[in-house]
Symmetry: D2
Subunit: 381 residues, 4 copies
Amino acid sequence: MTETSSPSPATQGTDGRPRARGLGVPFDGDCGALNSITDVPGVEVGYRTLVDGEGSAGSVVGEGPVRTGVTAIFPRGRGTPLGRVWAGVSAFNGDGEMTGTHWIREGGTFVGPVLLTNTHGVGMTHHAVVKWLVRRPGYEAETDLWLLPVVAETCDATLNDMNGLHVGEADVIAALEAAQGGPVAEGNVGGGTGMVCYEFKGGTGTASRRFDLGGKAYHLGAMVQANFGRRPWLTVRGIPVGQLMPDDSLWSREQGSIIIVVATDAPLLPVQLQRVARRAGLGMARTGTTGGTGSGDIFLAFSTAGRVEETVLEPLPSLAYIPNDCIDPVFAATVEAVEEAILNALIAAETMTGWNGQRVVALDHARLQEILRAHSRLNES
Amino acid sequence: MTETSSPSPATQGTDGRPRARGLGVPFDGDCGALNSITDVPGVEVGYRTLVDGEGSAGSVVGEGPVRTGVTAIFPRGRGTPLGRVWAGVSAFNGDGEMTGTHWIREGGTFVGPVLLTNTHGVGMTHHAVVKWLVRRPGYEAETDLWLLPVVAETCDATLNDMNGLHVGEADVIAALEAAQGGPVAEGNVGGGTGMVCYEFKGGTGTASRRFDLGGKAYHLGAMVQANFGRRPWLTVRGIPVGQLMPDDSLWSREQGSIIIVVATDAPLLPVQLQRVARRAGLGMARTGTTGGTGSGDIFLAFSTAGRVEETVLEPLPSLAYIPNDCIDPVFAATVEAVEEAILNALIAAETMTGWNGQRVVALDHARLQEILRAHSRLNES
Amino acid sequence: MTETSSPSPATQGTDGRPRARGLGVPFDGDCGALNSITDVPGVEVGYRTLVDGEGSAGSVVGEGPVRTGVTAIFPRGRGTPLGRVWAGVSAFNGDGEMTGTHWIREGGTFVGPVLLTNTHGVGMTHHAVVKWLVRRPGYEAETDLWLLPVVAETCDATLNDMNGLHVGEADVIAALEAAQGGPVAEGNVGGGTGMVCYEFKGGTGTASRRFDLGGKAYHLGAMVQANFGRRPWLTVRGIPVGQLMPDDSLWSREQGSIIIVVATDAPLLPVQLQRVARRAGLGMARTGTTGGTGSGDIFLAFSTAGRVEETVLEPLPSLAYIPNDCIDPVFAATVEAVEEAILNALIAAETMTGWNGQRVVALDHARLQEILRAHSRLNES
Amino acid sequence: MTETSSPSPATQGTDGRPRARGLGVPFDGDCGALNSITDVPGVEVGYRTLVDGEGSAGSVVGEGPVRTGVTAIFPRGRGTPLGRVWAGVSAFNGDGEMTGTHWIREGGTFVGPVLLTNTHGVGMTHHAVVKWLVRRPGYEAETDLWLLPVVAETCDATLNDMNGLHVGEADVIAALEAAQGGPVAEGNVGGGTGMVCYEFKGGTGTASRRFDLGGKAYHLGAMVQANFGRRPWLTVRGIPVGQLMPDDSLWSREQGSIIIVVATDAPLLPVQLQRVARRAGLGMARTGTTGGTGSGDIFLAFSTAGRVEETVLEPLPSLAYIPNDCIDPVFAATVEAVEEAILNALIAAETMTGWNGQRVVALDHARLQEILRAHSRLNES
């Protein structure tokens, strides 16, 4: 196996296994130190991973196996749990759920952490995050009379006893309280635990880009819960890897979805963050999907740069922004980070057996390298 | 007190008190027999009303008082719980939540009942309706691998211990299982129990219109959870009633929201149902609001006319529709039914005392009649 | 005839006839000195009114009668013709045209004057404004390589030989070059010349509101090209005037459209300007429409407060804004100004005969006052 | 040079030069006989190409050189000029113009031909198509009182004297009257004459896919006016061709736009056509763009399958549709056809010199083949 020399968090996962660029997959642009959404200052990520029970034929609803979890992303850190940020949202294909988006479209902001889980865990996750927020000390003093939390999902019913509703209140709170900065785990973790991507094992992935504008350095990071795509569609940096690795495919038509969260410390207006969110779809497209009907492809972008003033009129608040004619590096960073985050999810995920004995195989690293090498698309160290 | 002769469900509430047209408020158009969303064949409504504890100063989160509830609306009756329908959605002001709308915008349909509750009860309600749906007999045979239920909210924190999260799983199921056709209660019931409208007691209201197109009779009904508006804004059939009834007002700026559900048996394409949903805002406007920033004004419209074919290609399914040049009666019915439903909510609601001893007074019927009479805007029987 | 004492531009038109509040129609809020969109500093309006030929039976396409025109609105005055501003757009009902809106939705800005004309004059008007802009001195030095002008329309085919395409390049340039501040004419002028509203003669109208926020005074003005509504729908301050004045009605179903332009000097983010634009629909609703299918109801809002920086990154530009929780006075001003502008259009317009001898009568002032008085809704001086 | 054997219209252009698949560029899916939008029965295309004057330094506005034109696409053939169709629209990035889209979003239909031209030619093109439509025999008998034509643009100012406004009324009519079925020219023709794509010469391109659903064969064709992208972004079937062909690049930041028109004979609801339009962006993404701010990426999709009934209520009209769960082949065809159409535009376009002597080189066919071959991505015959 070929890896780049001197492993770093950018190339090597928290489990010591290589990430996409650790395998030599070539990318454009410069990533941040962690190559993670946590490269954006303040962003913290917490997981609760639920794996329980044998996966074998004859599964019964409510009895497992459990292959699911919860991911919590705090835009401004767990220490400022309400942490309002400017935001934008875009649904490439709306066969999915992300709560809280009516106000993001209207007001260009949201409050609190972003939660990712399975489709039927949305309700309990929403309930639990509200409970957690209103019960923390100091909530009374806040200006927010009501909370419209952002909870998004992809469907893990292929591997998980999703109708057993195994995500509980305590699991959500555990994810919230586990949030931290630094390197973040990928693959079968958090909300991504039981996900399937291009008929390989999918899950959680992240990546980042660093870019300069006007003499300042900014970061942009993406986190995906990747659960979409048919095998023949998969391309890795343009190479039709899926068609060349047809074994252990699962379906005749696409199942699943992708949730993409993009964070940046670049100052942007809400309309600009909508544009960033929309561009997440270009990163998704680079991995080969033709956008199946059942895929809930919903994208959120937020900026930690500007304070959001909701109530004070004197002095009049103002919001800094990157002028539109200078914004292309933000867009390029988005597309590149999203593409790499999806590939990181595929490369980090490990083979899993679950509901009714269904087995979903991991993308084989060596075979991937071999195919890329055969197409002169592998960075050899 | 002046009422129209021969009370009927259209003019008299289930509690025997007069509805808006029972008081002589003049309306355009013909209502259905019940003047209710249940005039649309198949539509059934169930409530769970939660009122518990004294409302007095010094309320503590988690200890009540409880002034909340859940409303369940089944488009095709409780007997067909998944009952997929064609639908459209419109957010006049997105400071609120309605789940399930990404797919309504994308696919033009939704599955299952529509649930209305308080803002912080959205999560538990979502959780419970998913649980109820996946556990009923026959779910395995359904084609829906995942559920994206429609759960909407308005905020009852003025009267209810909303942060105490008093809506439980059993309450949601009780509302679902209470659903039936026929006359429906209004005012302090179901999800509308603790709501406030134009600084009077608000809540649940409904109304309907009957119209003919191409020789066929159709019905359109609206149900609102009315929790919006400042007192000085309130107009009743154009008369500035709020300015003439300034007593017991509550706020210096608007709180609250309105959820509007429009049902019809007229056959309409999803793009046309979006148009119907948008016109709900004209009905809302007639009651005087200038559209405050904090009001989550989210509108759903669905048609029970056409079957929604999702999977079978042979024979090719088709969808009947009202041609656009003939659709104005549907739009007029929407505006009129929504306006009347809001007034019905105001007129049915009764004075309530709740959180921290807050008292919200009902709209006085006699004074309303007096004001309308003084402006030559009262139907005298 | 009852008028308020001491006529001013706010109550009396440029032709010396009373405007809505000059007739005693009651309104909420305080208007600006001119009660016009030109109360917003920098906003200038120019007209080119085209009336030619007798209106009699047997009209032939291309031979007139001509009953049309062009309206030009400069957000930052004619002296700064490119005058980029922050903006938002909302289409309540999209059966109409407003060019330039793709970028308004995307970038939150537009460049140049706003032009209003008839439906089939959109092309020539677009052509002419591009020509005028690129040929003025100094254009080479501008940063805008391409222009996406805002040109909107309503249909005057009831009175005008619209298919004769009588708006020429010179007419558009005449409107542009006539732009000025100060009191503006209403009724049968500019793009509104041949319009019909609630089956009375309609056309151009304007109004404004003045409000204080954080100790500063701001203005918001609306200009409408009113060409919508059926007679029985018309309400004036809530009174069903249209049903009480059924004579000389024209149609069995709605024709026409309304374009609304809202200008303000309050500092607002583009997402907030979208909200302002959407609220124009509440003002429209107050005049009674139920939103007919054929009405192109497209609303534009712009703010002159902030410079729009498109290209310079150092120093980072920033945009002041009214915090969302303080924005309700802006929304109220919008609703009120739009409602009053529509009524001003109806009250200023004069009876016109045109295409094929069609005669459209003006709203009778005395009869309007009489009806409002009978409903205790007239301000008597 | 390697070409596939037995040239056909699918592989060889009307000028006898190879198209993308004629060069051996590998594609998924089956194309129609012509590999063109005209594979969709009824669709006809006409061009007016304007090339005049030497391109040399010192160009003066109004004096040329002229490098522009007009493209006309009739959904139902020139013989039925109003030819109303069901449609959907999606703006990936709205820095451009497509008129007529307010009604497409609202009503899900449009009337008449689709016109493509340069940015400053939109007005004259709109004017001319209205004139042409209202003057043809039989217009009086039509139900359409007003026309909202679809006119879209990309900016050819790099090569064309765009501010000279050289598109005249007669040019538009010439394009309309040239429309026909059969093989269509690509590259420097019609509205695409002066366009630039990935800093190579761009322009007009087309491609199609054929697919079976429910035992029936359907066609879907795309036509693009390709004028977008920076050189380093260009990927051809995943290979970073642009980075490997850096010569003769033009810019430090993206200029330009892409208009995509997708036609199909598959029966689809308007909401489904919006979904098809949105997926055009995935095809665009495959060619490497990261979605620059200045690119007006506006996509239109229409179906010729169903008649659009606007006025007749008896019998109630109905619209056949592909069920959502069966629609993925339509989406795949869209992505594939759009990608191939863009590559066809690049491959057909020839080196051009224009405004101020600016020279834009064509993509070198042999070098492209060489690069693809080196990456094992060339079909060798």
